[in-house]
Subunit: 198 residues, 2 copies
């Protein structure tokens, strides 16, 4: 079915073009005209793939969550306990230019989701999944005697998640002050506090 | 000089109206017409106070930082060490509806600052001040033998700041999952880790 493959590929190209524009120039620059130009489409040729700008923007935000989750799956594969938690956290933190671009798009998404229940729902579903994974890995560490007995797992998941969300803000706002090295050290100190001593 | 007082008062009214609109309906609803209506001004009567929408939005964002900082000054007055740090953190965290509205405006600000160096500068100056205050209070706790000797003060300031920024996101996106009680417990666990034992 070449037509289906073609349609899926074209939609992906448009989503990636939208993602690049939001990351580099902001949501206000993401007009249908700019997106068509960035993706190498004729102006007006987007309609068969996305019937409205809102639909394209929504697909772009879903794509960014998906992209992070795929990277997490690869990084955490075959790992468990605190090693899996660390691999996950390193994929979520904006430790390179590509993930800084993801963070820029996510900040734009948060702004929209603050007043759009559907977008908030997409966010909250993803965050619930992340919390569940984190709790599973901490539970494995506890089983293996590797987790500090004082750790309250649900609260520790929330603290680590909030830290990682805030890190996106700090790194995007001021990449000179919040470097990848800083974020790695901050993560190490957070994970160190979870570990059983001795 | 009644005219100067009047002008300052009118500007404040417009900034507060803008703040309410961004918090409740989002930045895309903050048109000059909507702001005039919310503030009880005739349409077009804003020009003597703010020459452009950009200027008004910028003043609104500065107002939100200012508002938080004034609350912090009151809350931390006469306190030092970890008590001051706790009072500060409780003013920054979105623990009530008013501070949730502040968080909504700040999220809108971050989205703009991700692509506007002047706005990013306002953010970074405020965050540098907050880091300095936090480091001063942790230093006082260290002097008094109240800080865990293992704490690296600059890194601990960054971790706590990132946690508080992320908490704004979580609470705005999903206030049912991230309640004020949850945030207080998360803060307590973070501050507990800073305290010297015994």
């Amino acid at each position: 079915m070449p037509k289906v493959v073609d349609r899926r590929q074209r939609r992906l190209e448009l989503v990636e073009a939208t993602w690049r524009i939001i990351a580099r120039r902001g949501i206000s620059s993401a007009t249908m005209r700019q997106i068509a130009a960035e993706a190498g489409f004729a102006n007006g040729a987007l309609k068969p793939y996305f019937s409205s700008k809102a639909e394209l923007i929504e697909a772009t935000y879903a794509f960014v969550f998906d992209r992070t989750n795929r990277r997490v799956d690869v990084a955490a594969e075959g790992l468990e306990g605190l090693a899996a938690l660390e691999a996950f956290s390193r994929e979520v933190l904006p430790l390179d230019e590509d993930r800084l671009d993801e963070a820029r798009v996510v900040i734009s998404f948060w702004q929209e989701a603050a007043h759009d229940p559907r977008a908030a729902e997409l966010n909250n579903t993803s965050m619930a999944e992340w919390r569940r994974s984190m709790a599973t890995w901490m539970g494995q560490a506890r089983e293996a005697g590797r987790l500090d007995p004082a750790v309250d797992i649900p609260a520790a998941c929330d603290v680590l998640l909030n830290f990682m969300l805030g890190a996106q803000i700090s790194a995007v706002m001021d990449p000179g002050t919040t470097t990848a090295g800083d974020l790695r050290r901050q993560l190490d100190s957070q994970l160190g506090r979870l570990r059983a001593s001795g």
